[in-house]
Assembly symmetry: C2
Homo-oligomer: 197 residues x 2
Amino acid sequence: MQSNPERRSNEDRTRATRAALTKAARRLFVEKGYAETGTPEIVKAANVTRGALYHHFADKADLFRAVVRQEYAAVAAEIDAAAKTTTSTIDALTTGGDAFLRAMQQPGRVRLMLLDGPAILGRLELDAIDRETSADTLRLGLKSAMDAGEIRPLPLDALAAQLSAMFDRAALGVAKGDAAEDHLSVLNTILRGLVRH
Amino acid sequence: MQSNPERRSNEDRTRATRAALTKAARRLFVEKGYAETGTPEIVKAANVTRGALYHHFADKADLFRAVVRQEYAAVAAEIDAAAKTTTSTIDALTTGGDAFLRAMQQPGRVRLMLLDGPAILGRLELDAIDRETSADTLRLGLKSAMDAGEIRPLPLDALAAQLSAMFDRAALGVAKGDAAEDHLSVLNTILRGLVRH
DNA sequence: TCAAGATGCATACAATCTGTATGTAACTTC
DNA sequence: GAAGTTACATACAGATTGTATGCATCTTGA
């Protein structure tokens, strides 16, 4: 029974405020980078006060973390959607890789996830976020393929880390203007090289 | 003819001051990270004033740039020394890669070159520094091998970028505590996969 | 050799920025 | 509907960055 139409539940206010902050912050972090973006500018763009920011986030890095987390989740969702349609394990790997490259072309993602992310949050935390949001797709895919004997046996974690780094670098290159086919052909050649023959 | 033993040429003073600054800055940037290290702390550790710092460097990032440049040069020197002893093109690649991994275990290098570097200076400038200091060893090595038909023909720049990213990731993993053999075996398997058979 | 200019550096200052403390209104709970 | 919690606004303390200004100490050229 809402007598006053202006009345909003705390839950709603929180959701709205946090969304406004992460949206404004994402735009500014992407445009100017984390270090060059001040909290006064963020709250102005979000139409809230610094009090609200520090009420909802521990500090500026915590707000950045929230932005990056959303980004990882969005990329993971796009990959999952694409991988859903695949049949073989290997197919899932190459299709997933392809989807990853496309997803990473969304403006700002490279900067947030590959440039500022590691410096602000550290590789450790970033990897943790990746595992949370992606459910560790790449690693599990490699493990399946390896267990099934479809690809050579190799140290799983090292392989996943290095392949992931290759995909990241390819995404960065493409975002920078490199030809996507060039990176894809290298990527696929190396992936095929892992397949047992 | 130095009448006064306290008299120092401007060149000497500059060299000494810049060296003190880069040395102190390197230590602090490594220990606490770029963002958490203030210029007051740096100049105190270097026994100079902020005036001296801003006389020799445009800003804090410029000092960081100088530190990173030194680091790249040191790594390149270690790699060149190791690669000198090799015979075949392929051998040079794997030996160079090995030397790179070892060189990157020098404390702080991973943080300076792989974590803070890309965020503060940007991938573009970092790649430029790499090319300057390393004389583009990896790319040229791959080109030779490819021209000689020793490895499969692939887009050169994309291949160099992705392999470089793999090596970086391996170095980071090892610095973080991963087993070096794990990363090396992945690395070598993938390199061997590029060789024509 | 000495005057004029350049270089190296010290100090003080202006403009921010971050995180915290404190107060208040709106919501929730009992 | 009172008591307590949550959401937020405002004010403040501390610290940081880059710049401006001034003064020694070299260096240069006549």
